[in-house]
């Protein structure tokens, strides 16, 4: 299969039209049927595939960086009578299991990015459903702050996955219904088994949408609501996000600061990230640096590398993370970021870093961080080691790590805690000490403080790492995925952890079961001549 690219821009969108009339922007969904990412299916009725969602993710990102003056984003459809029919069933039916799971994961991350923009970037998303929204086509609106539905006696919202396909809504629909919109769970139970969904006033009564308007007043009413929400009248000037343009060979993808090296060992990749230079400084107007702003660039590159790893290199199971640079330069950079965190641009960069690190948290790859000579695992860079499943640190004078404010809550995980706090849930005293420490840690200290997993003697280093790698890459990839997902998210549950937890546990299980994908499974029989046949035993 041809490698998937994750970068695009509004001029190249096939399925979305982005209209900006500040302070209001509108994202129009207008899916081109025949422009699916792969051949073999038609994207009918505004149904989507990964390609459609890559454009959406790009638009959400660009609105934050390129149009910070936008306060409200309306998501609507160009098609009459239909908002979206959700993820394309025939695309799902013809996809491998790992693709399906990664597709769902990516779309979930995009929905969460929408909520992140609403909550933290002052860009409120509202969904204007000018027609029926079913399945994923309703889950996207669920990620918006407000949902408005046209009341033409026909258009409904629905989550028909269970009755039609024998699977679950895969983009957080169930969780958002009861946890975010606080729909009563018995009503939700009826709603999600009712294939045709719910329309009109009842949809509003049950809290499935915020209000309904008749077609003749629909556009005006939504616009009126948008204007009410856009009250800040801020006027920063955005920056332009350029293409990353990495150099690619069979064994390496090389960005400006990030290198993704593939192999040579089987199932192994290395991510090597370069630290800031000595002269890095944040200007009075941080946005003046534009897309070249180092931390922005580093995390965009990491993001792209992670996505490529997920989709284009399914067999790679273990990623070794290394950094190259000076500890002090990272600490200087972090101090400036922290000092400027009120600035819109720095805020956006920190939010981006947060999202990229979360992307790492939910990636189905093992991550080992290697802290060796010449590395610069401090602050924001140390966060990569804290996100890793294990950290090996060379026990040698001069090899050190250090904390910055960015480790202390500016880059929270999906559970709402910092990675440090999550790791030290059982050691609150130690955590309290670390919250104020400004020292550097050598390997022994780092191991004691929970910043490294194992301190490794120089003589043992090569062997230790080789053994760890060989052992890890020999274990069952499925068991590892489950193991990592279970260990990474200690601490409280949030909407986000529930969404990913339910997704990996339930949806991926159902997607494997004969009742969905067997010869007579519901997903297989969808659109065919006969009805599914189930194995009726409940597990």
């Amino acid at each position: 299969m041809e490698a998937i690219r994750f970068e695009t821009d509004p001029c190249n969108y096939k399925h979305w039209v982005l209209e900006v009339e500040s302070p209001i922007a509108t994202l129009w969904l207008d899916v081109k049927e025949e422009a699916g990412l792969r051949p073999g299916y038609l994207l009918k009725m505004n149904s989507y595939d990964l390609g459609v969602d890559i454009e959406l993710a790009d638009a959400v990102q660009r609105l934050r960086f390129e149009h910070p003056e936008v306060e409200v984003v309306i998501i609507s459809s160009k098609r009459d009578g239909i908002f979206s029919a959700g993820a394309n069933i025939f695309m799902l039916g013809s996809s491998s299991h790992e693709f399906k799971v990664n597709f769902c994961k990516f779309t979930n991350e995009t929905r969460l990015a929408i909520e992140d923009a609403t909550d933290h970037s002052g860009q409120v998303y509202i969904a204007a459903l000018n027609g029926t929204a079913s399945g994923g086509g309703y889950e996207l609106p669920l990620a918006c702050k407000e949902i408005y539905l046209v009341d033409d006696r026909r258009s409904a919202v629905s989550l028909p996955e269970v009755p039609y396909l024998g699977v679950l809504p895969g983009t957080g629909g169930l969780t958002r219904l009861v946890d975010k919109r606080k729909v009563r769970r018995d009503r939700a139970d009826i709603f999600v088994t009712l294939a045709e969904g719910i329309k009109g006033n009842r949809a509003a009564e049950w809290g499935l949408v915020d209000a309904v308007f008749p077609p003749s007043r629909f556009a005006d009413s939504v616009m009126e609501r948008a204007r009410k929400l856009a009250v800040e009248h801020r006027n920063p000037t955005g920056i332009r996000l350029d293409y990353l343009n990495p150099t690619e060979t069979d064994t390496e993808i090389r960005y400006r600061y990030v290198r993704l090296k593939l192999g040579p060992e089987a199932r192994l990749a290395r991510l090597i990230i370069e630290g800031p230079p000595d002269d890095f400084v944040i200007e009075k107007d941080p946005a003046a640096a534009g897309a070249d702003f180092l931390p922005l660039r580093v995390f965009r590159e990491l993001d792209d590398a992670l996505l490529r790893l997920r989709f284009n290199y399914p067999e790679i199971g273990l990623v070794l993370i290394q950094t190259r640079g000076k500890l002090s330069n990272v600490l200087k950079m972090d101090a400036q970021l922290s000092a400027h965190k009120q600035d819109w641009f720095v805020r956006e960069v920190l939010l981006l870093a947060k999202r990229v690190l979360k992307r790492m948290d939910v990636s189905a790859k093992s991550f080992f961080a290697l802290i060796d000579e010449g590395s610069c695992f401090a602050g924001s860079y140390l966060e990569l080691a804290l996100a890793a499943d294990r950290t090996y640190m060379l026990d040698k004078p001069g090899v050190e790590v250090a904390l910055s404010d960015l480790n202390r809550g500016l880059l929270p995980m999906g559970n709402g805690l910092s990675r440090l706090a999550t790791k030290l849930l059982g050691e609150p005293r130690l955590l309290a000490e670390l919250m104020n420490s400004s020292e550097t840690f050598d390997a022994g200290q780092a191991e004691a403080a929970g910043l490294a997993t194992v301190a490794v003697d120089e003589l043992d280093w090569d062997d230790e790492i080789r053994l760890a790698v060989e052992e890890r890459t020999s274990l069952s990839p499925d068991a590892l995925t489950g193991l990592e997902a279970s260990l990474r998210f200690a601490g409280p549950e949030t909407l986000e952890t529930k969404i990913f937890g339910r997704l990996s546990a339930w949806q991926n299980w159902i997607f494997q079961r004969p009742n969905a994908v067997g010869e007579h499974g519901a997903l297989v029989m969808y659109g065919k001549a006969s009805r599914p046949r189930f194995d009726w035993r409940r597990t």
């Binding site: 006696r153 003749s216 969808y526 659109g527």
Partner: protein, 467 residues
């Protein structure tokens, strides 16, 4: 109130139905007064009413004011031991209740059918003001009250078998409005204006005829109350189709006469409707009615057939393979490059087009009758049905443009030539200029020939409507 409602569903003892109708019936009357025939509600109309299902009860003729019409609920008598005769449940007993598994599909089928009934009344509500004769006026009202009864038939099923959802859907059937921007009817042909009597006849000829085939397919249903209801509706529907087919035949006949009278065969000088305008109305209403069959390749249709909810036209007599799991339907469809290529549609997914084929056959028969009139008159002009690809909004042909002969053309060519194929604003204006009412007994408008016989053996100059 219930004593006045003719029925054979034991309404007097059916508490559930009584409760539902208590709510719904007053709203129905309100709807009828607001959206029914305008201006004639207090006139006495010579109408037939069904008071029972036997041969002398289903067509009782008498004068009645329309709001006092006795809309009733009738199912043909149950066939003992009736078995499902097609689909995956073949050979099993038919259902007297809705199986939970097919609840949503059956509800959708019934609501979609039910929505067309009041819709057509709304579409026709102003036509009384331009009637060509009292005979035609009475036929219009007969069609209207019976469409009202068809609504009752579908509402009965919703009330009796679908609980609260059914009652809500029944209410919604009274709140949607044909052609309304905010609350339109479900199907597009039922949102089109029926502007004049030529359109009315084209509607009853082509669109009501779609109704006949939909009802016939539902008369095969494994859900017995639906099958029995629709079977009874078909007996009434026959008259609507008669009104449409003979209406156009009478216009064709009059036009032929006028063509003879006019030296250059230009009937507009004599106040007749030219044949090419008739042809354009045929093109318009035939193509809009084909859209009602749904997509040629349809997974819904496959589900409906497999589940035994909806069969083909006269499934038992016309077909031998009632499973339709093997074989395919070959259809030439346009590919991405706009070439017609043959596609094999698995038989079950091709149920809509199989029903449509039976419909087209039936329409062809009517066209032959009309052309016989032209032939007898010694005229060479022939009316024809356009290709099924022409002017479609739904289905595999809707993404391209075609001539009435079925040749694929560009959008710009279609736009520039459509005034030859579909009625123009001038055509509508001309036809409407002829529509002056004739309320005198025995008199008839100039643009249409009189009928060959009256209603219920009454003479043509009978006072069908007492004004």
């Amino acid at each position: 109130m219930f004593e006045k409602i003719p029925n054979n569903v034991n309404l007097s003892e059916n508490k559930r139905l009584q409760r539902a109708l208590e709510q719904w019936q007053p709203n129905f009357i309100r709807w009828w007064m607001e959206m029914g025939p305008e201006g004639f509600q207090q006139d006495e109309v010579y109408l037939r009413t069904a008071i029972s299902v036997d041969s002398n009860g289903w067509a009782q003729f008498d004068y009645v004011k329309m709001p006092d019409y006795r809309w009733g609920i009738f199912l043909v008598p149950a066939e003992p031991d009736r078995k499902i005769h097609f689909g995956d449940h073949i050979g099993e007993p038919v259902w007297n209740d809705v199986p939970g598994e097919f609840r949503k599909e059956l509800r959708r089928i019934i609501v979609t059918q039910g929505d067309t009934e009041p819709a057509s009344v709304e579409q026709q509500r102003l036509l009384g003001h331009t009637t060509p004769s009292l005979y035609d006026l009475r036929n219009l009202f007969q069609v209207n009250v019976e469409e009202g009864r068809h609504l009752w038939a579908m509402v009965y099923l919703l009330h009796q078998f679908f609980g609260r959802d059914g009652r809500e859907e029944a209410e919604d059937l009274l709140t949607r409005r044909s052609g309304h921007k905010d609350t339109p009817r479900i199907l597009e042909a039922f949102n089109k204006p029926v502007r004049d009597w030529l359109a009315f006849f084209a509607f009853t000829m082509f669109t009501d005829r779609d109704g006949k085939y939909q009802l016939a397919a539902l008369a095969e249903s494994a859900f017995d109350p639906l099958a029995r209801s629709t079977k009874f509706m078909l007996t009434e529907e026959a008259h609507h189709l008669f009104v449409g087919e003979t209406g156009i035949a009478r216009i064709v006949k009059r036009t032929a006469e006028l063509m003879k009278l006019s030296p250059n065969e230009d009937v507009t000088e004599l106040g007749g409707i030219p044949l090419d305008i008739i042809q354009k109305y045929i093109n318009e209403w035939f193509s809009a009615s084909l859209d009602l069959f749904g997509s040629e390749d349809s997974s819904n249709a496959a589900t409906f057939f497999g589940a035994g909810l909806k069969g083909r036209y006269r499934e038992a007599e016309r077909y031998s393979d009632h499973l339709a799991l093997e074989g395919s339907y070959k259809l030439e469809v346009p590919d991405e490059n706009g070439h017609l290529v043959e596609r094999s549609i698995p038989l079950r997914r091709a149920m809509n087009i199989q029903l449509q084929d039976a419909y087209i056959e039936d329409c062809e028969r009517a066209l032959r009758r009309w052309n016989e009139i032209l032939e007898k008159a010694g005229l060479s002009y022939r009316l024809k049905l356009p290709s099924q690809r022409f002017n479609r909004r739904i289905g595999v042909f809707s993404s391209h443009y075609f001539t009435p002969e079925g040749k694929i053309i560009s959008e710009s060519e279609f736009k520039s030539r459509s005034n030859q194929w579909l009625p123009t604003q001038e055509d509508y204006a001309y036809v409407s200029s002829l529509m002056t009412p004739v309320y005198e007994r025995g008199k008839i408008a100039n643009w249409i020939a009189p009928p060959t016989r009256g209603i219920n053996q009454k003479p043509i100059d009978f006072e069908y409507v007492r004004r």
